[in-house]
């Protein structure tokens, strides 16, 4: 993986994201960690998952929450790399942060505008051949998190994934 950086960066996210469905303000803002890859390809997926895994542990995210974070990020990034960049590779930024009551992962790209939150859930009663490409990945990402918010940027997309933590800090 070349042209990448992992930067510990204070998160400014301390209030519920609009439309996230997650209520309750974070009691304390925790530091976030950012990974940026200049020209990410599918070969970088393992490193991106490792970054999310490491970040979750550094930020004290309960272990039981980690699998959902990995699925959501991996499926989202895969769709960007395959459908957004057409396998040619492109810039990807992943920010992982947490507060007392949630984990937030923000994924930014410079691919053509695409809002996965507007995709209908796939009909899981259909065989795989009847399902639209990418639909399964979006479904897995959506079902693994409590909130998914898309924002159109001047030069690409930002997808914010939110996982609520229970009162005991565990996933709900």
């Amino acid at each position: 993986m070349g042209d990448s950086s992992v930067v510990p960066r204070p998160s400014t996210r301390g209030s519920p994201e609009a439309g996230s469905g997650v209520t309750g303000a974070g009691a304390r803002v925790e530091a976030g960690r950012t990974l940026a890859i200049g020209r990410a390809t599918l070969a970088d997926l393992a490193a991106i998952r490792a970054f999310v895994r490491d970040s979750a542990r550094v930020l004290g995210v309960p272990p039981g929450v980690e699998p959902d974070l990995l699925i959501a990020v991996d499926e989202t990034v895969t769709n960007v790399l395959v459908h957004g960049y057409g396998r040619a590779g492109g810039w990807i930024e992943v920010l992982v942060s947490r507060t007392a009551d949630r984990v937030t992962i923000r994924i930014r790209d410079r691919a053509p505008i695409f809002d996965p939150t507007r995709r209908a859930a796939p009909d899981l009663t259909l065989g795989l051949d009847h399902r639209a490409p990418g639909g399964l990945g979006i479904h897995l990402a959506r079902s693994s998190m409590d909130g998914m918010i898309h924002r159109t940027l001047d030069d690409g997309n930002e997808l914010t994934l939110v996982k609520a933590l229970g009162e005991d800090g565990r996933g709900r």
Partner: protein, 139 residues
């Protein structure tokens, strides 16, 4: 991802393909290709040992579904056609559990392979067991 092959004799000859490592969009085509090779060599019943797979995404399901088609004597989608390959698949999986491919995965809801199967409904098409002996007996 590492792939190793074993053979077993159950009610029918079974090839066991053991996977070690993550299964994602970067390597799912290699798994499908290995399955094609095994079919060409005579394999008609395949057991995937996925107890050594800490992570699997939707790409893994594409490979597993392709393997099921190949083992049934049908052509799996061309990996070079990418995700559009979904539209080329002719076989309906709504007929129920297919008999040629089974998976062994670690028990427990936190297992990544089981999690993906259950969340996508694929466990209605490909049987997932937690014990190799039970999986072999199920063929």
């Amino acid at each position: 991802m590492n792939l190793t092959v074993d053979r077993a004799d159950a009610r029918v000859p079974v090839t066991i393909l053991r996977l070690e490592g993550d299964l994602d969009a970067s390597n799912f085509e290699a798994l499908l290709e290995r399955g094609r090779e095994l079919y060409a060599e005579g394999t008609r019943h395949l057991l995937l040992d996925m107890r050594g797979v800490p992570y699997m995404g939707s790409s893994g399901l594409v490979a597993l579904h392709g393997l099921a088609l190949v083992l049934g004597g049908e052509a799996a989608p061309d990996p070079e056609s990418g995700w559009e390959a979904h539209h080329a698949i002719a076989r309906s999986v709504e007929s129920g559990m297919q008999p040629n491919l089974k998976v062994v995965a670690a028990a427990g809801p936190d297992n990544a392979v089981r999690r993906v199967f259950q969340r996508t409904g694929m466990d209605r098409f490909i049987e997932v067991l937690d014990d190799e002996a039970a999986a072999l007996a199920a063929f």
